[in-house]
Symmetry: C2
Subunit: 441 residues, 2 copies
């Protein structure tokens, strides 16, 4: 029985649900530091060695060759679903850039104009995980915003894994020990404007992106080794956000449909045994029906081993006294994915403060957002929805500030500048303003 | 003689100018790790101990008391300059929020609407350095965007230093060993909506913000200990960007005014001996005149000891063959502050890809942006203008994604979702979409 009352949870039980970041083991920390040290020192050679040693993949070259690229026809019927998803992703993210570019100028005084202009990051590295599944969708979700942002080089790192990581591994065109990567991933890369693909994963891939390919930002989800490598390099290269296991929280009342709710909880659970799936509901009836549905549906799905384990470890059905209590818990949890399956879901949206991607209504199935609506699926996990945004066009560029000041404009703020210079003990600051008026005095 | 030709620099000489990040010593890394460990374990007590041991400041309590706050009248004439600067900062940053909120909805298909909504980070920590000077301006530059963003709690950490760090220390109302902080800093905090002030600096302040006050993001410049502490906590709390010494690059042709250029180079040099001041110019005549002006002006300024050292270590006058060469160098350098003092400065702005804050024209003195135009002065340094934006309203919140999908909308993208589920070997994903149509089939 998974069902518990929210109000009956002890402080420790609540913490066990909320504190899902985990932290990184010393083994991972020192392992990552060693990998990065070697990649810094020996470059591509070290990346190939670690790929052989850790992933069992023997590569003759790191980069996907021109021949491998041209062997995949991204315009074939087989990849129509990638192109269709790409169109929606483009639409959503192009709208972001349009908004960024529409920011107005501000004039704090006559003769002063200040504004921001968009500039792309020139060279970015994106990571698409492998091992338990392949993720052409994650290629689209990163490369398309990067292309729209205007990045000149978009380098994709993705592992050519042996594909034996999971008892439920079932990726079509799964990567293999011969060093091939999925044709769907190559097609996604070609559709979305990736300029180079390197066949490696883990900490060595992050090291390669920075030390071998000199990218200026690295984005993308990954396992703890990938996340730790990004952190260790984060005083040298920009990163998107820390990453943890995938998670979904469904906020539901008795208008929710039990089998939809169960299916959506399982859709996130299938990523890995560490995934989290939580139902917070005001309806005891729904709680019971969802629990029964989950047992039933697991047995019908291919990745049943992962699903059972993920539901055992990270599944929760929590009964709230009322919607207010459920919303408070949701904001405290700050889920990566939040489905709101209540009567009039839009009415409670303003009360949702912390969430990555929100799905409104009984037909807003979370996987629709993973793949097809066009919204981004690279999202903050592990509670980081409190302080990070979903990946977006903004992730791939920066806004430079511009200040245009005439003599008249400077004279309007001269007094303030000189007072600050005095207050902060910085007379060269004050002088640089005053010197422009000296000849007149 | 500082003057060199850009094209004559060896690869090593160029690297010595460009690679100014420096990296952190093992001593700082382990020192910071120890401080954070202790603050995590023993909380405020450890923060007070380190403040005594490292800064020589003996505090009875970490927080500025209600009595200390009410002793400062932020509406007095004395602080008029702070209120005037605050008005401009508010104007510039309110415009950012207005722009964020004006992003349109996107509809990739009938029955699907996706959009982003702004949500503030609830609890943020801001850091204003001390030691060599006091920075009420940095309080305004962080707290005002945070307030506009909608943050509920804004906690300021700033050291109550003994004020003996520099031979040129000249901060009016400088903080002292009795544990008082500058009245100007308190006034700035009150004007800008800070909800609490804690009197500590260095790594222990960053530790206090996270472990004692549980903030969700930490922003603000600081010395290498502060920056390293932010990095070490960056898998637990969001941070703004890595920070290095302040820097200015002035791009000038023969229309620039030598004494203005010299004064502006020195305005950044006075921050610390590690500051960088670079002139890149197409005019040999200007180069010579600026060098002479610098010698002259240094002797007239209070912080002459810092200035001499900063100019000796980090001053450069570089002659470019033409404007194109100077612009390429500028983009490679990616300066925190960039002044463009050429004929028609706006015309070359589109070619500037990497810079934090750009100043156009001979009267756009950089310190005007430090204090008074309203643009932000917390900027990427050490080359991070390649991949980071200036601090802004965006730094203090996030955009959550919302997806509203009707049955009709889901049916429009159902095929794509199912194909992805198949391609990625994720049948629970495909099922969660399919199950919503099962009863009809």
């Amino acid at each position: 029985m998974k069902i518990r009352k929210l109000s009956a949870l002890s402080k420790e039980e609540l913490s066990a649900i909320l504190d899902r970041g985990g932290g990184v083991s010393e083994k991972v920390k020192t392992g990552v530091a060693e990998i990065l040290r070697e990649v810094k020192k020996r470059g591509e050679v070290a990346v190939l060695e670690f790929t052989q040693k850790l992933d069992g993949v023997d590569l003759s070259a790191l980069e996907v060759s021109a021949a491998e690229l041209s062997a995949v026809d991204e315009n074939s019927a087989e990849f129509g679903f990638l192109r269709e998803a790409a169109r929606n992703i483009e639409k959503f993210h192009a709208n972001q850039l349009e908004n960024i570019r529409s920011e107005k100028k501000v004039s704090p005084a006559d003769g002063i104009e200040i504004w921001r202009e968009w500039r792309p990051i020139q060279k970015v590295g994106i990571y698409a995980p492998g091992g338990l599944a392949i993720y052409p969708s994650s290629v689209l979700m990163q490369a398309i915003p990067a292309k729209i942002a205007g990045c000149e080089e978009i380098i994709l790192a993705t592992p050519a894994f042996a594909g034996t990581g999971s008892p439920n591994f079932a990726g079509a065109g799964s990567p293999n020990s011969a060093g091939e990567i999925s044709t769907a991933v190559i097609a996604a890369a070609k559709i979305s404007g990736v300029t180079k693909i390197i066949k490696c994963g883990g900490a060595q891939a992050i090291g390669a992106l920075y030390y071998v390919y000199n990218v200026q930002k690295i984005t993308g989800p990954g396992n703890p080794w990938v996340t730790e490598a990004k952190k260790q390099l984060s005083d040298k290269v920009a990163i998107d956000m820390p990453a943890g296991p995938s998670e979904i929280l469904i906020l539901a009342d008795d208008t929710a449909v039990p089998k939809f709710v169960a299916a959506d909880l399982l859709s996130q659970a299938e990523h890995a045994a560490s995934s989290k799936s939580i139902l917070a509901t005001t309806s005891e009836k729904l709680a019971g029906e969802v629990e029964a549905e989950i047992e039933k549906q697991i047995s019908e799905l291919k990745r049943d081993v992962i699903l059972k384990e993920a539901w055992r470890l990270g599944g929760e059905i929590l009964i709230a006294k009322n919607l207010g209590e459920a919303i408070d818990f949701t904001n405290e949890y700050a889920p990566e994915h939040l489905e709101i399956c209540v009567e009039n879901p839009e009415s409670i949206l303003p009360k949702i403060v912390n969430a990555g991607s929100v799905f409104l209504g009984n037909f807003a199935s979370e996987p629709a957002g993973d793949f097809a609506t066009g919204a981004n699926h690279v999202l903050p996990t592990a509670g980081f929805a409190k302080n990070f945004s979903p990946l977006s066009v903004e992730s791939f560029g920066k806004k430079i500030q511009i200040q245009k000041i005439s003599k008249k404009g400077l004279s309007a703020i001269r007094g303030v500048c000189e007072k600050f210079g005095e207050a902060e003990g910085l007379d060269a600051h004050a002088r640089s303003v005053a010197i422009r008026f000296e000849d007149e005095e």
